[in-house]
Symmetry: D3
Subunit: 298 residues, 6 copies
């Protein structure tokens, strides 16, 4: 089944927005299973109807949206998979399509950002996550789901002073783990700074900083609290609420969005399928902030 | 087991409040299973004790409460079931009993409202739900769980300017789906209008509008966020919190409550039984707003 | 596996902080299973890393922490188990170790408080719970998980005007159940008083009252809302949020903490293991408020 | 996703074998949910590879197999759904396609058999089930999942002395419930007659009786023991083993198979998805007994 | 709900057969939860109809069967509970009723056997179990679920040469654990002696030995293989099949049955409820071997 | 926790038998998660007691058994992990220890067999599995969980005419998939050849062929039927029974066992933990066939 039963398309077809499954999870440190997420998210998306009642967004009235299926990643080899992702993203971006990736673990953002860089130059990033994912390495390896943003900085893929990391928290290997990010120019908004409040003001501020710079949204589902998104591999308590997640995504409306991902949904740990359902909704909300989307007057 | 192990009674016995199971779920569009809800809600209600510690309500000290069992609905035919519900409700209302229904899907509210109309005239309604349930039809059928409030308006069962729909949200078939409701005079409070705030002021306002008009409370469990009420058939993210649910029900104290329902609990999708437990508590809170209930001074 | 894979130690070894499993659940009135909690909490604790990113706490840099294993309680006899707990706690306290207990049901707090009294005199208590646990008896028995704080008062184990019960709620056997507590001098903060707000001000107030009096923290996981902590034996809706739980524990920083417990996690009802994961995090946060812990400058 | 990722086709296309989803479950007496089975069975079928290692069957080498999707049944009305099933089956049969239905509850076999009759005359039936499904009515209704074979006899759809009911058992409303079947000429093989033995001899006997008469295979998953097929609505202990199920289906090789169904899989009660996986395999085995299938020499 | 929705009766009423819930599980060594079994078994029993299709038994046509509810055991004290069980059983037996107990853990069989002895003298026992339950003590305690048959021998409650233990297996504390039983005169039939064969001949032999001696049937659900009865506290692989369980119970027809129990169902570990469903069926089969039951000619 | 709470030892310590965890699952084609199996199998092994009641084996009376923990495999790289496995196994074998591996996926058997070859020469193998695991490659990769026995033959690690593959079945990519194995001299016993019978005679035959040749036992849990071992990544219906599994392992008594593994347990798909419990028992039974084990006379 395609996402929301929309049409299928081939990689490289000139659609405005493309759903792309990337079932890679061998860069996971803790619980694997994110390879099953594209299937489950598509399955739960069947409950979605076309119009966004809260915002008035009409994503299917004003642009072409298609599901290009899953990338044929190599289940046994991270670097070969990176090449497959990059070459497919190259075709997608060249065709003018804005890709919305269904991960997979967070390691997939590195080859995506590489391609973004080659087409758009260094991008702004809005990164929702419990973790900075900026470790130097994990168990000696440089390509893992805990290291992509470190690599992205080293490879100069990011417009560092337009990078926002929202929801970081939990326990760390060093008490200054987040300082490396700050030192690159990232704005780090820790989860506890978000507690008990609306994130609408934060997003207003972010939009002011980013302006019309090409912007990538990378949403790790573990940015949310485990009580609302249990189906993930590295849960950390005290995370964002669903309302805050919606405020963040809806708050991106007006930005020059060039790509989005929703990663780290781990279906084997999502017994009730609530996390996949939530993810399907969040991807729908991401579609609604595509620059071409028109809105119903409310 | 009866609800909270209270006494059994026959339909038509002159008790003040009656628990009524209505295990009908064949009007469900998506996931069936609500027929199993009366049993599960009763089962989880065994944890409840008689006094409401937060509000001081003493529902069993000042009135007679009984469980009249499940209505013998026809599992294969919606319209026949409607007749069974109406004729039983007629007996219940005539005896002076305020019924508290354990659904079943939301389609059951139509025959209930028909009977309410015949006894009380058009009623005020406080309707908590993710959906307006006011579609013209679903797949060509007029009697489904997505259409009862459209039918209720057509059949003039409602005092339309005293109808409040709280928690509506999600994706819709048309961007103006909620406008039909507003055009009938309903007050629609969308979920995103409730985010990050107490609903106590809203209820104060509602009580002011309704005054002492006979009032029916229809509570679809999917009005709540799926993270707190996963066991339902058509979940929509971004819903009300448990605290808001309690604020709404407790905020009805003082109204002229003539009936209540709690619908759309779907036990097969409620692995942890948390939704049934929540529903049992909400039904208990509904009992506490029965006009005859006395309160302990706090 | 030990908690967070820390070192093992023997009861009575002179470590600064000791994790103690107390797998007793035969004093449970409703759903048993808490005997399995120490194992599951330790299992989920493997995800934790040493530093507290939000507060800067460095619990392992400045003190010795060890896991002393499970106490060899008698699975068939409550009173014999109480003696085993008391005699082991005596050794622990005498060695200067601050014990962090993994329950077990809440009945274990009575022999713990007895030993605390013998070493420190009557203690201040911060008690997070849905229930006051101050019944006179349950089904005629005086030693159960619903009675320890009644016994503790009778045995003069508590500095009653420095006892705080946070999160009480639900239905009760009598409308004045909480008044007994208030009459002893306890400060009762009901759950509905906490809704929709930060508990940081409350903790500031509590710290002012307690000063440097020896303080015990007893955390019943059912103090939290069932939507965030479903794996417990006596869930009550409308409870504290995870954020509030963290505010309470972190708000204890600066107090003279002499012991902590985390009780009533019931793994058979925690299908997703989310409650055990949450409990492991809360115990970690408790370690961080040990008086010897140093903090990273933020 | 299509069954086994095979090609899609339209109803009425001239393929040799067609997978047909029939998501009807409103004729269920006990636990609904079979409407979700076609989706889940297709999902689990992705594990299947083309060749049958045990029998050597090569179903895709010698005939065209396609998935024609789900029939657009009316979710709210049994009789309207029957008409939809019949008219679609008419097109399927006329095109020369052998349909393999994914139910849905067992009520769907009645409109299927009606169409079979109109094309082939009265058919032989191999019916695996815990129940005879030959009640006169259920709760006063004549079209339910407990009555189709009674209706089929009344409507003269069956070659009664070539009907075999295998696996019947459990508790009944009358001690002579199975006698009605025997009186029609059916051969009833109760489950306890199958215990502890191979069914290969039985199938040899059945093939002898049926000869080359057009034969329909109707497989209710509850024919199997609940320990191997828990995900069904009316489980009865003491049922057939998986090995016996395979012996029955493989034993049909050589018969003039004109259609098959696999019904009563109920995914909400199939937590581990084992029943859906089993069903997918059984449907594959049914494909392998299509008269056109060639076999690898073993 | 009563078992199979039969009538309720008071303890001591002169019915022929009585269902008795005994929700005691504090004598459990490993996983508690059997206290929840009576409720769950009754709940699953709603699927049962009155007649036994395989054997022709008509238990409700020829005798009075009632559900006397749960005994008010003391949840905190084993010995007090024993007294409660004994005194209630005394009333039951004196009234001429044959009790069918829904455990609870296996420790309940000791007070039952004590009462049986007082009324009938030492009884014959058919004991299905993975364990001999004849330990001298467990962790120093003499009244536990691993010791009742040792106590029963010591207290001379058994006609030892008419005691049959079927299904024993697994790992033991001593390699000669079963020899103590054999030395008392018990016939021990280990599980591996039952593999791959019908138990009909064994039961024929047992009936020959017992003759018309008063006989008690004690069925620990863990006698069955964990793959068919996962919901139990001390599972051991390689156990009896469901078919063998039915052969054993049905093979008791003709014996002078004075009481039966079905123990050690542990619902928290029975996610799919398959074990409770199985237990409900086995209790029904036990009812069918009550000496007063008439059979339909087959 | 160690396996069965036995002592810990270091790799290379001179114990007779060593439990070795190998949490590698990145060579899995379908569902990952086997990395979590060593932990879960150890956890469930706590139920095991020292003596084998059915066979009389006394594994801990006559030899030293220890748990050497988990090998520090590289979670992101198969070939690096192979080197880690080989070098650790080299130390284990040189010390005279017989290793019992807890997988992990089946790819781990290749580096194990390489080390076995270097110490013992080509080994005999008893391989229980649903799949031959002898593919030339999977998705172009040569080191995966579907290819180890092809590699083992190419690298001349096996005494091919003393290799037995038991339980093969299911669907295949080619109808002659198993012929490659037969052409190497392997004896392939397909699952359907095992149906409805004891495997004791087969094992007698196997022992005759192998004699005293060094023998390795590789047990893929998916050799068993999914109804008894649902927690695995590539389930195939119609597999071996638990009884047959026990017959195979017990039938190896008397062989010159030099190593064993139990692989492909996948805990995220083992909701009830029944598969891990089964695996723990099977590993215990493997310990019992270590050549040094003494037996109690039965």
């Amino acid at each position: 089944m395609t996402f929301m039963r929309i049409a299928e398309a081939q990689i490289g077809e000139a659609v405005d927005a493309g759903i792309v499954g990337i079932p890679l999870d061998i860069a996971t440190s803790n619980r694997p299973g994110a390879r099953l997420a594209p299937r489950e998210i598509r399955d739960e998306s069947r409950l979605l109807r076309p119009y966004n009642m809260a915002t008035g967004a009409k994503p299917f009235d004003s642009m072409q949206v298609a599901d290009v299926g899953d990338l044929p990643i190599n289940t046994y080899n991270i670097e070969k998979s990176y090449e497959i992702i990059s070459s497919n993203y190259q075709q997608i971006l060249v065709s003018g399509c804005v890709p919305f990736a269904l991960g997979g673990d967070h390691s997939i953002v590195l080859p995506i950002l590489r391609t973004m860089r080659s087409v758009y130059g260094p991008v702004a990033v809005i990164h929702i996550d419990a973790h900075a994912d900026a470790n130097e390495h994990m168990f000696g390896e440089i390509y893992t789901h805990g290291t992509p943003f470190r690599r992205a900085v080293e490879e100069e893929l990011l417009e560092c002073n337009k990078v926002f990391q929202i929801g970081l928290r939990g326990t760390g290997y060093h008490p200054d783990d987040f300082d490396w990010c700050r030192n690159q120019g990232f704005r780090v908004i820790e989860a506890h700074e978000c507690w008990n409040q609306s994130l609408v003001p934060l997003l207003t501020e972010i939009r002011g900083v980013i302006g019309d710079h090409p912007t990538y949204v990378s949403f790790d589902i573990d940015g949310l609290d485990p009580s609302v998104a249990p189906g993930t591999g590295t849960p950390e308590i005290g995370g964002l609420s669903v309302v805050q997640a919606l405020e963040v995504i809806r708050g991106c409306r007006g930005l020059n969005i060039v790509g989005c991902d929703l990663v780290e949904v781990c279906p084997p740990f999502d017994l009730s399928k609530a996390t996949s359902l939530l993810a399907a909704n969040l991807v729908y909300e991401m579609l609604c902030i595509h620059p071409k989307v028109q809105y119903h007057d409310k």
